[in-house]
């Protein structure tokens, strides 16, 4: 049987200050690590959940984003007429020909301005996004200069609340409703009538066509048809895939920066744990000698000290995760470099992140504790007993 866990736990508790300081250092690293993962997950969730797997986004080939895409009216009509496209209850096709423009809006309580994405859409636009609900006011009327704003935009930008007015495209636009898109990317957009928006900005072309298929399994068939049609220079993507690709650059940036920070910080925490564990071994040389004399093997000593280091890591891991969990109350907004518009997203904590962070904390503990534990296991019994 191994050296009892109570010995390990109480040895840690006996050195409260050292244990707390070392675990505290590890907690900070776990906090950074978990926060980065939460940020990446928040971004992924915001953008990926923006897209519905049943919907298809058609853009100009190689455009990458709706902002860079143009689709003329003729091409849009061809796409709309494809046999795979579903019909709505009213007997018309379930499509929305959309125009995207970026405008600069001033933030409330600040002079700073940011780019906001305005989405001009057809009448089926909101029907195609079942995750979007109007939480205040009403839907804009087609053919009018009415607009509805995403919750995040309404809260943070001057003139974007219900009953307020925004001026862009040389027109006054009345905000008549607020949409809650369940923390997806649509919360950072303003929606209005596509034709009105195209007139205001003197744009003759759409940016994208969003549509629902009769059967999601028919996507490949639809994609092949669109991409091989010589009249079309377009490409089709499932909406969820399209938005996942939108988040890739920003998510990769957050991931790499975060991982570099975590690795650098963890080196510091590992050294801290190593110093603590070396001191622990030195202070308890006679205890180690006694345990060995009583018949505990080298491997028992090694595992006892490794467990002790892992306990340090686990304490730091739990503390770091508790700290990181508070980040869920914060929302941050940043420029999405692929759409050049501002995107608000939160920190999302899930079981995978908890497990990864905890494993990271344990790995730090083991990395910091291995050499001291090996030293403890290799101590000469007679020399260790003389340390008494």
């Amino acid at each position: 049987m191994a050296i009892p866990l109570s010995y390990t736990l109480r040895s840690l508790a006996a050195r409260k200050l050292t244990t707390l300081l070392t675990a505290g250092g590890m907690a900070l690293v776990v906090f950074v690590f978990a926060t980065v993962l939460m940020l990446e997950e928040g971004l992924r969730k915001t953008l990926v959940e923006t897209g519905s797997p049943d919907n298809v986004v058609v853009t100009r080939r190689s455009a990458g984003t709706e902002v860079q895409s143009i689709i003329d009216r003729e091409q849009a009509a061809i796409v709309e007429g494809q046999p795979e496209v579903a019909y709505g209850m009213d007997g018309t096709r379930l499509t929305s020909k959309e125009a995207i423009v970026l405008i600069s809006l001033a933030k409330r309580n600040s002079d700073k301005a940011s780019n906001i994405l305005i989405r001009g859409m057809g009448q089926k636009g909101i029907e195609l996004r079942p995750q979007v609900r109007i939480v205040e006011g009403r839907m804009f009327r087609p053919g009018s200069t009415e607009i509805i704003a995403g919750k995040s935009v309404a809260e943070r930008y001057t003139g974007a609340g219900v009953g307020e007015t925004l001026r862009f495209g040389q027109r006054e636009w009345n905000v008549v409703g607020i949409i809650d898109a369940g923390k997806t990317g649509f919360d950072s957009e303003i929606w209005g009538d596509a034709d009105q928006l195209m007139q205001a900005f003197r744009r003759p072309v759409y940016s994208s066509v969003i549509l629902k298929l009769n059967d999601p399994a028919a996507f490949t068939q639809f994609e092949t048809r669109v991409e091989n049609d010589p009249r079309l220079t377009l490409e089709a993507k499932q909406e969820s895939v399209f938005y996942a690709e939108q988040s890739r650059v920003l998510a990769n940036f957050i991931r790499y920066l975060g991982m570099i920070l975590s690795v650098v910080f963890s080196a510091g925490a590992i050294i801290g744990a190593m110093i603590t564990m070396y001191a622990s071994v030195a202070n308890r040389a006679s205890e180690i000698g006694t345990l060995r004399a009583l018949g505990f093997r080298r491997k028992n000593i090694l595992s006892a000290f490794l467990v002790e280091a892992m306990m340090l890591g686990a304490t730091g891991g739990v503390a770091g995760l508790v700290l990181a969990s508070f980040m869920q109350f914060f929302t941050i907004s940043t420029m999405n470099w692929q759409s050049f518009s501002e995107l608000a997203f939160g920190f999302t904590l899930n079981v995978t992140i908890i497990l990864k962070s905890f494993a990271f904390a344990l790995i730090m503990g083991v990395a910091g504790g291995f050499l001291p534990a090996a030293r403890a296991a290799r101590l000469n019994i007679v020399d260790a007993l003389r340390a008494a």
Binding site: S6, S11, A14, F296, V382
Partner: protein, 230 residues
């Protein structure tokens, strides 16, 4: 059960030296003697005479350079590190000058430690530990930590820990060296009882002639060799 006619410890031509820098310092030279079962012997000699080294070799926590060292029929000089650890757990009880109790464990848990290396169940361990602690008169101190006990009480806990596994030999290195006279006498009488009533073979290193009187025989070491007076 060991055979009483056979010596429990057989030492033949035992040699041990330590390296100090470039120099090889001999500590024990060609030591040969036997200890018979249920004997209580004291090893005496000036500092540096090699008595603690000899005790460490008999207890299997150090290895000789040459010679043979049989304890209860096993030549422990030939055992591997891991086998030697198992052998110690089964055959040797240790009593140290400074008690060497785990400060974060209670008296009960300290005495229980060697039993964790056996196949005994939790309840069997509890039964044995309670009996051992009652034998050393510490039933009412079972849940106390070493820091809450006097030196004499700590050494009694250490004695309980030493005999809890019913070992073949008990080795005691200056067991009274850190105690006042009254506590020392208490410990010595406890060792005498372990020897006379339980038949434990005890090998004790001491500087104290008063302590040595508790032993049946005394072996003197002088500069790594057994003194002819022994």
């Amino acid at each position: 059960m060991e055979n009483l006619s056979e010596p429990i410890v057989q030492i033949r031509h035992l040699t041990k030296s330590y390296r100090r820098g470039e120099q090889l310092v001999p500590v024990l030279t060609n030591i040969s003697f036997d200890i018979i079962s249920s004997e209580f012997i004291a090893l005496m000699g000036p500092s540096g005479s090699g008595k603690s080294t000899l005790l460490n070799l008999i207890a299997g926590i150090d290895k000789p350079d040459s010679g043979s060292l049989k304890v209860n029929g096993t030549d422990i000089a030939t055992l591997s590190e891991a086998d030697l650890a198992d052998w110690r757990a089964a055959n040797v009880g240790f009593i140290f000058q400074f008690y060497n109790l785990m400060p974060v464990l209670t008296a009960f848990e300290n005495v229980e430690l060697p039993l964790l290396l056996t196949r005994l169940s939790r309840s069997q361990r509890r039964e044995r530990v309670e009996l051992a602690l009652s034998m050393v008169g510490l039933t009412d101190r079972m849940e106390h930590y070493p820091s809450e006990l006097s030196g004499g009480q700590q050494q009694r806990v250490a004695i309980a820990r030493a005999f809890i596994t019913d070992p073949v030999i008990l080795v005691a290195d200056e067991p009274t060296g850190d105690l006042d006279r009254a506590s020392a006498d208490e410990i010595l009488s406890m060792l005498e009882r372990l020897n006379s009533e339980m038949g434990k073979t005890i090998i004790m290193v001491t500087h104290d002639p008063h302590a040595a009187k508790s032993a049946h025989s005394i072996r003197h070491l002088e500069k790594g060799e057994l003194d002819v007076r022994s």
